[in-house]
Amino acid sequence: MGIYYPSGCDDIIPGHVCDPCDTIEQGRVRSVAFIKNGFAFSNIENPTEWQAGVASKDIILIPQVKGTFDGGAEVESAGYGDQATRLTGYNFQMQFQDPNYKGNCNFYNLLKNSRNYHAYYRTETQGHLIETTVQVIPKNPVTDDVNSEVVWDVLVKWSGKDLPCPQDVPPGIFDECVVAV
């Protein structure tokens, strides 16, 4: 009996990009957006598409946050052959704080019930779109400090095979609040 190993099933690994003069990307999750499942960008760096999404209420912008992204906790399963384990995906967590506390209780109480949104987060100059829908877990803790602020403390969780990739942020989209009407 012949043994058939399909060819061409390995992903093609591109060349590594090396630039000693590359500008660094500075940290903090600075802005967050929630994009309704089914809304598709033809060019995610185009601010016109974002404006259209905001106008049609398919995109929710939260321009000013501070937060972290954990980079993903690896999920491994049993390996084959000489590999003891193999990587099957990641469990991701992003956590951010939203300072607009008083007006957003209803917003977060409803958002947490939805599994119909993708998340997008911005670092200094780069945006990262999450390809799978996310679970949003908001909290509003209060500390015993009269000088502290009560803010929304939001955990966003998802699982996926790939890491979110950086793309240029659409100009002007995250510069200011959109006033609710």
């Binding site: 000013q64 000088n147 609040c177």
Partner: protein
């Protein structure tokens, strides 16, 4: 409430609420008049006189700027903090006020606001730091080399306090109208 002068006005209002007979003035400066140094608010002399048993004026001696840690959102590194270094100069005629200097310091400290609401600033905190009860020193600071004129029941003392005003850069009038970010 938009400036340090407005905040000083609140401090003065609190002083008057517990010492109604005090005369209070705002932020003064040392000015030269007829070759002599004296305190004034604008053109008005606010120093020692024979009329008031307790007289209070303030001086702004400096501003220290800093960033409040862990307060930045978006691209901001954090809220800005202006710490105004203030002096309250108090003339006390204890023969008429019936209050000793250190009792007066205690009364003022106990009845001064700790926090003031402001449409301009995110938070305004007031803290007493120290007091200088050496009358000759304070007089020399305020009146220069003029001979010390105060008798045994009159004194000039100084209360040092700070006003920490915290604001979000670029967010004064806008924040006062409470923008709501939503879909």
């Amino acid at each position: 409430m938009k400036s340090i002068q407005d905040i000083v006005d609140v401090v003065n209002e609190n002083i008057l609420s517990v010492i109604p007979t005090a005369r209070v003035y705002g932020i003064s400066k040392s000015v030269s008049r007829d070759g002599k140094i004296m305190p004034a608010v604008g053109e008005k002399y606010v120093g020692i006189d024979d009329v008031d048993s307790i007289l209070v004026y303030h001086k702004l001696t400096g501003v220290v700027n800093g960033i409040v840690p862990n307060t930045g959102y978006g691209n901001s590194r954090g809220d800005q903090s202006n710490t105004f270094q203030m002096q309250m100069i108090v003339f006390n005629d204890s023969g008429r006020s019936k209050l000793r200097d250190w009792d007066l310091v205690m009364i003022m400290q106990a009845n001064s606001p700790r926090r003031v609401n402001s449409s301009l600033y995110k938070a305004v905190n007031i803290s007493f730091v120290s007091a200088n009860l050496v009358s000759q020193q304070v007089y020399a600071q305020e009146y220069g080399n003029n001979p010390y004129p105060l008798s045994f029941n009159k004194s000039l003392f100084q209360i040092n306090y700070i006003v920490q005003a915290i604001y979000i850069p670029g967010c004064f009038v806008e924040c006062a109208e409470e923008l709501i970010c939503s879909n």
